[in-house]
């Protein structure tokens, strides 16, 4: 059973997915009875081959797949924040306005500025999205999610367009944030090292189900890495 | 018609006293200009009549306004009151005027396209003639054919609505051979399209009326005010006869936007207005028109005596006094 393999305590999970099916065509499902629990404050990395359904899973958790066929049970916290695979900045809002979109309360703008500064986009507040480089767009989109302090953060390859150094900085930033607010995190990444470095638990998605589910703590990164790569390559 | 006065039978005598604040809504732009230029507006005011002028004239527009009850009376020729009756809007003619020499001062002449040889009505045989069934011009064409002894099959009737100068354009581009055009436009037509000509129809087309919603003449207050207005209108026409230049300036130039020169030309072709001593002849002609249209356009027979309110006849002639015209002119 899933619970004992993860060795979780008995607290209510923040995310609870049972028997999740999703398919875009008659011929075959993308998710085929997936089960998943994420504890509050837990950081889970999701890896899997391109086209296995990682984004499909995230969209289901975010409640964005009303029109997709399938069934299953999903429970998520009320406040969810999503970093989309494309950076999805509103092209008609300047960068800062994109970041603070929907933020309420005084100081929203100040918090937005600070988040931008943290992702290295100080001084670009007034730029249009099309004026940013690929990596800059991705960071702006990250800032938009981080400034919100959600209970569940769903991040779909948020560092894909970043160079090694910037990526490390963003890791640190994300870690800091997680320590402060302890959201549950589900992070999709293609970088196994990144998954190991950041997360409490790594999940391998394949053929629409969780193929492997391993806790990081107490295991050697090298061993973990080769295990995960193997799991990835099996098919 | 918001605060209606007491109802008045159509047979009851017209009241003399105008209730204070009675307002009548009149579409009669030429008379409006004359009334203001001649000082007759004082007479209206003294009698306690308030006129809300509307710059509306002609059949379709006035019938639309009548139906919405947004207008009491409008100045038109003879056709609109027939069509109003045929389409279920009850109106009464309260004023009739004529042209003293109608044959030589017609409202319409027959414009002839450049290069087309038409010098008498008999030449119309085989020609393409512009025809607009619902308009005065259309009725005129039917009457011309009747007079020439031709049937609809002897000519080609080209369905063409007369809007703006569409007939002049149609003639000029030789799309039709013959079209009724306003006498005032004949000179413009001839200068614009050299070779174009025009002939007289020899038919009286001088009917000119003021027609009102029946509902308005059934309103005692309005009827009293209209009684005053009809008198003033008669005087206004006589003033126009006496002051052609004043009319040209006040109406054609200032209201209609013609140049002084063009206005003069228009006045020159205009005939003297006449107030008929009796409406009998006018009604006879109206009945003939009604019969012709009923026959040619498949409509119900109409007794035109139901379309007039002859209580206003003496009011009109009294105002004109000795200046009424009689005999053939009427």
């Amino acid at each position: 059973m899933a619970t004992d393999t993860r060795g979780l305590t008995a607290t209510e999970p923040a995310v609870r997915v049972r028997d999740l099916h999703r398919s875009f065509s008659e011929s075959g499902g993308v998710l085929n009875g997936l089960d998943l629990d994420i504890a509050p404050g837990e950081f889970v990395a999701l890896i899997g081959r391109s086209g296995t359904g990682k984004s499909t899973l995230l969209r289901a958790l975010a409640g964005l797949d009303r029109d997709v066929a399938g069934h299953g049970e999903i429970e998520v916290p009320a406040s969810v924040s999503v970093v989309f695979q494309d950076s999805r900045l509103l092209p008609w809002r300047r960068v800062l306005d994109n970041v603070v979109l929907g933020l309420r309360g005084a100081g929203a703008e100040e918090r937005g500025r600070q988040a931008l500064a943290e992702v290295g986009l100080e001084g670009r507040e007034r730029s249009w999205p099309f004026q940013l480089s690929g990596g800059e767009q991705q960071r702006a989109s990250l800032a938009r999610s981080l400034v919100r302090e959600p209970q569940l953060l769903l991040a779909d390859e948020p560092f894909g367009a970043l160079d090694a150094l910037t990526r490390l900085r963003m890791h640190a930033l994300l870690r800091k944030l997680c320590e402060a607010h302890r959201p549950a995190v589900l992070l999709v990444t293609h970088d196994v090292d990144e998954a190991i470095a950041l997360s409490d638990r790594v999940i391998v998605l394949d053929a629409g189900v969780v193929r492997a589910d391993v806790r990081v703590a107490g295991r050697s990164p090298v061993e973990l890495r080769s295990f995960l790569l193997e799991e990835l390559e099996i098919r | 018609g918001d605060d209606a006065g007491a109802p008045l039978e159509l047979t009851a005598a017209l009241p003399d006293q105008v209730a204070g604040g009675t307002e009548i809504r009149i579409g009669d732009p030429a008379i409006q200009a004359i009334v203001q230029a001649s000082g007759l507006d004082k007479e209206l005011a003294d009698a306690g009549v308030q006129v809300e002028w509307a710059n509306i004239s002609g059949g379709p527009q006035s019938i639309q306004a009548f139906r919405g009850d947004k207008l009491d009376c409008s100045a038109v020729a003879d056709i609109p009151s027939l069509f109003a009756a045929w389409t279920g809007t009850s109106t009464k003619i309260v004023f009739q005027s004529v042209i003293v020499d109608p044959i030589n001062h017609p409202i319409y002449q027959l414009g002839v396209a450049p290069g087309v040889n038409v010098s008498s009505l008999a030449d119309l045989r085989g020609k393409k003639i512009a025809y607009s069934a619902g308009q005065a011009q259309g009725a005129l064409v039917l009457r011309v054919l009747q007079k020439a002894g031709l049937s609809k099959d002897d000519v080609t009737l080209v369905e063409l609505t007369s809007t703006g100068d569409s007939y002049v354009t149609a003639l000029g581009s030789k799309a039709v051979d013959v079209a009724p055009i306003g006498a005032a436009n004949v000179k413009i037509y001839k200068t614009k399209y050299p070779g174009g000509g025009a002939i007289l129809t020899g038919i009286r087309d001088d009917a000119s009326t003021l027609y009102c919603l029946t509902k308005s003449v059934q309103d005692a207050d309005k009827a009293a005010a209209l009684k005053v207005y009809v008198g003033v209108r008669a005087k206004a026409l006589l003033w126009q006869n006496a002051n052609p230049d004043g009319y040209a300036k006040a109406y054609l130039q200032d209201v209609q936007g013609l140049s002084a020169e063009d206005a003069k030309d228009v006045v020159a072709v205009d005939g003297r207005k006449g107030i008929p001593a009796t409406w009998d002849n006018a009604l006879k002609r109206l009945q003939e028109t009604a019969d012709l249209l009923a026959e040619q356009q498949d409509r119900d027979k109409l007794d035109v005596s139901t379309l007039v309110d002859r209580r206003f006849e003496p009011v009109e002639t009294a105002a004109a006094g000795a200046d009424v015209v009689t005999g053939d002119a009427a």
Binding site: D19, L61, E73 | F83, L160, A170, S173
Partner: protein
């Protein structure tokens, strides 16, 4: 390091995350008819209760009677057919010309400077006032009518296609440039499909414009046609016949519009917008 395997389940519960929908949501089938039917209901109720006087707007049942009369006694079908023929011919020429002009002017600044101004000016000038010119050039026959309708329907096609074309995301032009494709292929594969949403919107306006143009052109030397029928009825003040004309216009316009939108949904299947 245990591997969790998928287990077959019998539950088919479907508990999804319910998130407030901000877009318009799914299309409601047949909702399409609610508006027009409501309009008809209001009209009927107004007429039945006398709130709408028959002099102003004929009651629906009287319109049906008038419709029948026009059909049997006045060749309504003939009127409709000859109107439709005119509208279709004019529309055809107008759409072709408008599309071609829009592509030329959309893809070349020079072409634009020549074409765009005159079309905008034509657009600002009342067609009715231009008719004398057309009569002088094309006579008062069918030719003039078709040219006029073509010019009327050219305008929305031109403006919308031009606008749609110019609104294509610049990155697709960049892509095309790096593929070394010719101008013809660029137009076929990038410009036309990219401007298609604009064109279709233009089409919606062109179709109704061409029908409306009938009212204007059929005042001239027409012996049949809906516009002719309305003009005559206006002169006579035959409200019921006018309303018959209007209803026909309404039905045709609505159906044509819905057809264009339906086609639009088909050919724009590649889009994921708030519409879907």
């Amino acid at each position: 390091m245990t591997v969790t395997e998928a287990r077959p389940r019998t539950v088919t519960a479907d508990v999804r995350v319910v998130r407030r929908r901000l877009g318009p949501g799914r299309r409601i089938p047949y909702a399409f008819w609610i508006g027009p039917l409501l309009l008809l209901a209001v009209w009927s109720a107004g007429s039945a209760t006398g709130l709408i006087s028959p002099a102003i707007l004929t009651a629906p049942w009287d319109v049906v009677v008038a419709f029948g009369e026009q059909w049997t006694d006045h060749d309504l079908l003939g009127n409709i057919l000859s109107s439709l023929q005119r509208a279709a011919l004019g529309l055809g020429f107008g759409v072709a010309a408008g599309g071609v002009l829009a592509v030329i002017s959309g893809l070349s600044r020079f072409g634009e400077s020549l074409i765009d101004g005159p079309i905008q000016i034509k657009r600002s000038v009342p067609t009715l006032a231009l008719i004398p010119l057309f009569i002088a050039w094309f006579g008062i026959g069918q030719e003039m009518k078709i040219v006029t309708i073509a010019l009327i329907s050219l305008v929305p096609i031109y403006v919308h296609t031009h606008n749609g074309l110019r609104g294509i995301d610049g990155k697709y032009a960049e892509l095309a440039e790096t593929l070394d494709i010719g101008r013809g292929e660029f137009v076929r594969h990038v410009v036309l499909p990219g401007a298609l949403p604009g064109f279709l919107l233009g089409m919606r306006f062109a179709v109704t414009s061409s029908l409306l143009g009938l009212v204007v052109v059929e005042q001239y030397n027409a012996t049949a046609g809906i516009g002719h029928m309305i003009t005559l009825a206006e002169q006579y003040g035959q409200t019921d016949v006018i309303v018959v004309g209007l209803v026909i216009y309404g039905i045709f316009g609505y159906c044509a519009d819905s057809a264009v939108r339906l086609v639009g949904r088909r050919v724009l299947a590649w889009r994921r917008t708030l519409e879907d």
